[in-house]
Structures are given as C-alpha cells and as structure tokens.
C-alpha cells in the first residue's frame, strides 16, 4: 500500500503527461504482483468497491479525537479525507502493520459496510499520513490524480515491447489484478485469447493539405465526408454488445437506443452522431446535441427521444466469424455493403462514397460543404488493410479550412508543467453594442473563447512579457489585461451556447497569428461570429 500511496501522492502533484508516465512506469516496475495490477485497475477506474460514506468516516475519526480539535482542523484543511488522513491518531501504528494494496482491495470488495469500517480503522492505524490519504481516496471510489485509463496503459506498455494497441486489444479479456497481462507485457508469455468483445484499436489518419495531393493518383483513393461526431467501434459477439470510444472507453451505458438495435455479430468502425429521421431522410444534428448525449451517463427518456443516437458506418473489422482486417479497404467496403444490404437498420447507415474525377473537382465539393455535421473530407487508399494506430500513407483527413476571427486578449493564466512560469492560457473577446447606465450607446468586450496553443515558443515568451506589463488587475491566478492586444484565432465552428455571456461557443479555438500591429477597436464583433454559426 505504501508504494501505491507514494505513487498517487506524486501523481497528484505532477502536472506533465510525461512526468506521470515516468512515475507509473517506475511503480509498475518495482511493485510486486498482484498489487501492481490492482493499482493499474484503480488508475483505470475499474475497481468497484463499496463506497463508504464520508460522514461515517468522519464520525469514526471524531470518536477518537477531541471534536473541537477536529473541527478547527477540518476548517483549516478544507478537505474531509485529507483532514482525516492527517489527524488520525498515530499511537496504534505499532500494533498494526501497513496492509498490502491487494489485501485492501480483496477484503474491501467482499466486506459489508460495517465490516468495511472496522477494516478501514485497522488499516488507518497501520499507515502513515500519505498511506491514509491514499486509502481514503481508494475507498471514496475516485482517485482524481489526472490519469486516464489510456495513460495508465501507456505506462504499462513502457515495461516491455508490447504496444499500447496490443494491450488495449487484449485488455477486456482480463480482470483485475491483470497478473497474466502484466507478466506478458514485462516479457512473459502471451495469454491465450478468450473472446471477441474487446476493443480493437482504431486505424487513424494523417492531416493532408491540398498541395500534397499532386503526388497521389485520384483513382487510388476513396473519398468520404468527415463527419463531425465522435469515432466509435461497435463490437458485438455472443449476444453481448459494446460501444467503444476512440480511446477504447466503454460508453455502451450512455447509448441504450443504439445497443438495443444490435442483433448482429460484428466489429464495425463508424461515426457516432445524433440524427433524426425526417420524411424518410436521416438528418444529422449539430455536435452540440451529441455533446449533450455524451455528457449523460444515463440518458433520460426525454433526451433519448429528442436526440436519438446514430452510427454512420465506414469500415468493418470483423463480420460474423470473418476477420477482414488484412483485406484491402476495397474488399472490406464490399463486405460491409453486402452485410448492410441484407438487413438495413434504422440507427445505422453507411457513410456514402463521394464520386470524383480529379482533385480539383473534389476540392470544389469540399469548399461547398459547410452543412452541419461535416468537418471536411476523408481520403482512404483503396488498398489499405485495417492497421491499428496512426500508420503513414494510408488514410488522410482533409479538413475544411478553419474559420478565423480577430479578437482581443482579455484574461491570462499561467500554464502547467513546462509552461508553469509562462502566461499561456488566454481568454479572448469580441465587441458588442452596449448601452451604459446613462443611456449612452457604446461597445463592450465579451469573452468568446479560450486558447492555449498555436503560438511558437518565441511568441509565448513575448506574450508572457506583454501580460506582465499590461495587467490591470488580478483575481487569484487570473490576470485581467488592458484591452490592447489583438490576435487572429482559428476555430472549427461556432455554436449557440447558454453558458457564455456572449451566447456563442467556439470549437477548438487556437492562436493563428498575433496582431501586434492591430488596435483593439478594430477587432471583430460578436455579430460577425454569429453569422458563421452552423
């Protein structure tokens, strides 16, 4: 438990992705089995422990501590689990040895609530302050140390030569504490496959520019619209169904309307959308509608009715018992069409192929396509097998040109990790009409978005200096800037938003150019953005 506690402690203070990877890799190398597998499961959020009520833990603590001292301490620290971890009496440490992580998890899993409290009390006696804190976090069911399941698996892959994709593919066949899996990654024997419901890492694309196309022959490629949803994999086998996100996260629970329509056995690749049927046609809704579905782990019947989920299929990895991944896309597409033609399903359709004679025709089609739900084009080599990961030379995304706007920098905050000494996180705003309390018309700036990227290191240094010299006020970590610097921001689209004062939200805003030359009053108006709304 102590090693795991030290890991969580270090992770909680580590802002950088690489730093977190290093810490987890080091832990996985040195911690014994089965503890390290349980740690991995905990980091991936896969442990299902009976959750203990904070109030019960507090009462258990106060029973041993002067209540006045407890309240003063809690007031000062502000966090209940942390207060308990720090204040827990240490006189009993000699009678209880610190537990192992595996012991904690195996016993807690089976314990009733009353027994769990007794166990917790004994363990808290045996651990130091960091150990107690980690134990309480584990029992609370949420580690919150800024590690995703994918990052934890990436750290695991660093132990040996097994790739992240292979780990993700076999992951669902294993259970905590993942001993066989870890031993395989660390250089042991590959465990035998057991079922086919697992996530198979997706084939990913590279961005391409119009100028790159001259090197390619148009007839070697299939073109499809790039749909503005999220990439998913539908895996169905032996009467069970899983819907996986791009990263392999199981999101089946949030989409019962899709799952109930799956009466086949296949592993399919497609785009998850919200789409409504109108007069026999399928109408794709905005990404905002999909976002609402993604935000709800358990959708209400009203939401299911108003925002039905839909999958637009573009590839088949497995159909029935046939693994198609080694076949060229041309043949996989034929299998997919034949399979779909046997029994069309209303919540699924096929991503249509775009017919084109040459690149200039395709460029025209792309320029005209600003309809909702389209982000650009996908170009896929007809000969490409289905290969996990971002392999070069097979699939390309040709995104619609980004939209841009000139906006004024309004607030700045420092970044994280390497950037923690730089002001690198900016809120920017545009103008809108405004009438002051005396009835005089004028203009005011309202925030329209936040951007953290798109500048060079050199520009970051300049921006940082500018922020330090042009701060008019501070609220905690936030600096309020005098409205004097304009930048051109790129973004993918504009949407209605009730969360922002401006009434709009931008998708993926980033710096394009800093306009050191441009006066703030020449920045764009909110109205200009509204006109770009899709």
């Amino acid at each position: 438990m102590q090693l795991f506690a030290d890991l969580l402690d270090a992770l909680s203070y580590q802002p950088a992705r690489n730093g977190k990877l290093r810490l987890m890799e080091d832990y996985l190398r040195h911690a014994p089995d089965p503890d390290r597998g349980y740690a991995l499961a905990a980091l991936c959020g896969e442990l299902d422990l009976p959750s203990l009520k904070p109030a019960a833990l507090r009462d258990m603590t106060i029973a041993q501590i002067d209540p006045e001292l407890f309240h003063w301490s809690y007031d000062y620290v502000g966090d209940l689990a942390e207060t308990i971890a720090l204040i827990w009496p240490t006189g009993n440490t000699t009678t209880h040895a610190p537990p192992r992580l595996s012991e904690v998890i195996e016993r807690l899993r089976l314990a009733g609530r009353a027994e769990a409290m007794t166990l917790m009390s004994d363990w808290l006696d045996g651990l130091d302050a960091t150990g107690r804190w980690a134990l309480l976090k584990l029992a609370a069911g949420a580690l919150r140390v800024g590690v995703s399941a994918r990052l934890a698996k990436t750290a695991l892959s660093a132990l040996g030569t097994v790739s992240l994709e292979e780990i993700e593919e076999t992951w669902p066949q294993h259970q905590p504490p993942y001993t066989e899996l870890i031993q395989w990654v660390a250089g042991g024997e590959k465990p035998a496959a057991r079922n086919t419901l697992g996530f198979r890492p997706l084939m990913l694309s590279h961005p391409i520019e119009e100028s790159d196309l001259a090197n390619f022959a148009p007839h070697d490629f299939c073109a499809e619209w790039k749909w503005d949803g999220i990439r998913v994999q539908v895996a169905a086998a032996a009467g069970q169904v899983r819907l996986y996100s791009r990263a392999g996260e199981d999101i089946s629970g949030a989409f019962p309307d899709l799952i109930e329509q799956v009466d086949f056995e296949a592993v399919l690749d497609g785009e998850l959308l919200v789409a409504r049927h109108r007069n026999g046609a399928v109408e794709v809704a905005s990404f905002n509608d999909l976002q609402q579905r993604l935000n709800r782990k358990k959708p209400t019947p009203a939401l299911l009715a108003s925002s039905p989920a839909h999958v637009r299929l573009y590839d088949a990895l497995i159909i029935g018992n046939d693994d198609l991944r080694a076949l060229p896309l041309r043949e996989r597409r034929q299998h997919l069409e034949a399979w779909y033609g046997e029994k069309p399903r209303p919540r699924f359709d096929l991503s249509p192929l775009i017919q084109f004679a040459d690149w200039s025709e395709l460029a025209r089609l792309r320029a005209d396509a600003r309809a909702a739900g389209i982000e650009g084009l996908m170009l896929k080599r007809w000969e490409s097998p289905y290969i996990a990961g971002r392999v070069k030379g097979h699939w390309f995304k040709w995104k619609r040109d980004a939209l841009t706007i000139d906006a004024v920098l309004m607030y700045a905050q420092r970044g994280h990790g390497k950037r923690s000494s730089f002001y690198s996180d900016f809120t920017f705003g545009c103008w809108r009409p405004f009438v002051d309390e005396n009835g005089n018309p004028g203009r005011e700036l309202v925030p329209v978005g936040k951007a953290y990227s798109g500048f060079t290191d050199e520009e970051l240094r300049k921006l940082d200096r500018w922020v330090r010299n042009n701060t008019v006020e501070r609220f905690g970590p936030v600096r309020v800037l005098s409205p004097g610097l304009v930048a051109e921001f790129e973004f993918d689209s504009v949407h209605e938003s009730t969360r922002h004062k401006s009434g709009i939200a931008l998708r993926f805003p980033r710096f394009h150019r800093i306009r050191w030359d441009k006066p703030a009053n020449e920045a764009d108006e909110v109205e200009t953005l509204r006109k770009l709304m899709t």
């Binding site: 730093g19 720090l86 204040i87 302050a129 000494s421």
Partner: protein, 335 residues
C-alpha cells in the same frame, strides 16, 4: 510569596516587555534594549539601542542589516547568566536555526522561559532545544493544529534523491527559506550521502557562507549563476520559495520544482506553491512536539504567542494547565 510573571512580563504593542529588567524580547519596533531570540526577520529587527543575543544571531543580523544595526551589542553564550535590573537572564538553545535561543528569566523567585521559535528534532546545523523547567512557558504555535505532524526528515530527503533518479534529465529545484532551512536541507542531503556540489541562488549564498564560517560543514556549494540547463541535469539547486515558477527559474530548463516547508503538509498549500515535490521539512515543532515540550518544561501556565493559538490553548487546558493567548503582533507564519 514569589511574584508571578504576569506581574513583570507583559505583552505591549512593540512586543513582550520585562519591566523590572527594562527590556523587550524580539520587539517588532525599535526600542532601547532588546533581547533577540534568533535572526529571522520577524524576530530580529534593525534600529534598537542595545541588543543582547547569541554571537551567531548578532553575526546574522550584521550580515542582513549591516554592522550598524544597533547602537550597542552584547554577545551571550548559551548558559551564561547576566543581570539586567532585578532580573537574571540566560539564553538556552532553541534548536530552530543557527544561534537560536530561548530566553530564561528569573525574578523574585519565579522563572519564565520565552522559547522564541523552536523545534525538537535533530538538526545538524544547531544545538538541540534544551527543556528548562519553569513557572510560565511562552511558546509559538505556528503548527498548532493536530493535522501538522511532520514526517521523518529522511523520508523527505529520500524523495529528492528518488526524483533525481526518475528524472535524470531535469534538475531538482528546491525552494527554501534563506536562513536556516537552506543550510539544514544541505546538511540533511549530506547526511543522506549526497556529495555532489549543491547549486545556490544568489540570495542564499551569504548566509550559507556565514554558517560555514561558524563551523557548520556543508560540503561543496556553488553559485547557479551562469549555468545552463544541460550542466544542471540531475543536479540539486536551492532557491528562495518565491523564485519557483518565476521568470528566474526558466534558466534551469525544466526543473522538478520542490518546496521544503512544514506547510507542504497541506495539499492546497503545496499546489499554491507550485511544488511538484512538496517536502515536509520544518524548523518549527509539529503538534505532538509542541505538546511534548509543554510536558517537558512542566510549566503550570503556558502563554501562546503566534500561530494557530486556539487549538493549542484548548489542548493544553485539557491537560490541567493554564493557557492563554498573548496575541503578539508582527510575527509571521513564514518558513
């Protein structure tokens, strides 16, 4: 009938005043006669008429404020008794930093001990706190809450050495208070077997040299000025806590930011300090040590000067002793 210290030792706006002796202890404003417990800025101020303190404290004050920091100075050895008016005065080690002292006062058959800032655990840079039995014990309460229990120093130093192994391409940049914490962290690193040069921010060099000139061996140290990130890989650099995450720290490239302070026990404080590696190393007593000290000096009455007084007073009262807050102003929580 002995005269209880409450009649001759009083909190005044300028600090704690001993009337029959005619002196203040750690006054926060200029006075004619001051006894100074130790060299930290909130206890040792310039501009007094006469200052009595340990030789080391006087040297620290001279280094910080210049030779003319007081009209007249008097150096006292630990255990040396002097008379001031009707009062006998003696300094005893407080274990806080080099030169730090408790002030032991005797008057009319009663003894009061003013401990200044103090700690109980081992510190290679200064002699340990000596408990002196007394009628009134005056204590600080910087970490006067039961959530403050400092872990063993060697655990914290081990974290630094482990970070060097984990991140061999980065330096470890430790924010330390310039007086006391800096030199103690160096000494603890040496005890853990670390023998490479330790690099120092300019603000830490003078006091570190002063410690060495007073016979505290700290091993090789060097200025970090002029070094480039490539030279600092896996080296240890010390700087004032305020330099972490500031423009200056960019010269280290991508250092592992650490902060050594008792406040690092609290996660929100550690995050506020931007520490990737919070090191709970304190020059003050933790909660258990405060209460242990009250038992050791066995005073029937305890006065609490600064910090989180209410919890400490409450806990002392539970042991059947009298306790009250002096509410002295001008002392800080800085460490």
């Amino acid at each position: 009938m002995p005269l209880h210290p409450q009649h001759w030792l009083r909190p005044m706006p300028g600090g704690l005043y001993c009337e029959p002796g005619g002196f203040f202890i750690d006054p926060s404003r200029p006075v004619d006669r001051a006894i100074v417990t130790h060299g930290h800025g909130d206890h040792a101020r310039a501009g007094h008429g006469r200052v009595a303190a340990t030789t080391e404290t006087l040297a620290i004050m001279a280094a910080r404020y210049g030779e003319g920091f007081a009209r007249e100075t008097q150096a006292l050895a630990y255990g040396e008794r002097i008379s001031l008016g009707d009062v006998t005065l003696m300094l005893e080690p407080a274990g806080h930093i080099l030169g730090s002292a408790q002030v032991v006062l005797e008057h009319d058959g009663c003894r009061a001990v003013i401990s200044g800032d103090y700690k109980r655990r081992y510190d290679p840079t200064c002699p340990p706190f000596t408990p002196v039995k007394c009628d009134v014990f005056v204590t600080e309460a910087t970490f006067g809450l039961p959530v403050f229990r400092h872990p063993p120093d060697k655990n914290e130093i081990a974290k630094v050495l482990h970070a060097r192994e984990l991140f061999p391409d980065r330096s470890v940049l430790i924010g330390v208070y310039a007086l006391g914490k800096c030199q103690r962290v160096i000494a603890l690193l040496r005890r853990a077997g670390y023998d490479r040069p330790i690099y120092l921010h300019g603000a830490l060099q003078a006091l570190t040299q002063l410690y060495e000139s007073r016979g505290v061996a700290l091993g090789p140290t060097a200025s970090v000025a002029g070094m480039v990130p490539a030279q600092l890989k896996s080296e240890i650099v010390l700087c004032p806590p305020s330099a972490i995450g500031e423009v200056w720290s960019r010269r280290m490239g991508d250092p592992v930011p650490a902060v050594a302070s008792g406040w690092m026990r609290i996660r929100a404080r550690a995050r506020q300090a931007r520490a990737e590696l919070p090191l709970i190393i304190s020059d003050h007593c933790d909660w258990d040590e405060l209460l242990q000290t009250v038992r050791d000096v066995d005073a029937p009455e305890v006065w609490v000067t600064h910090g989180r007084e209410e919890a400490l007073i409450h806990a002392i009262q539970q042991t059947g002793r009298k306790a009250r807050a002096l509410s002295l102003i001008g002392y800080e929580d800085e460490e």
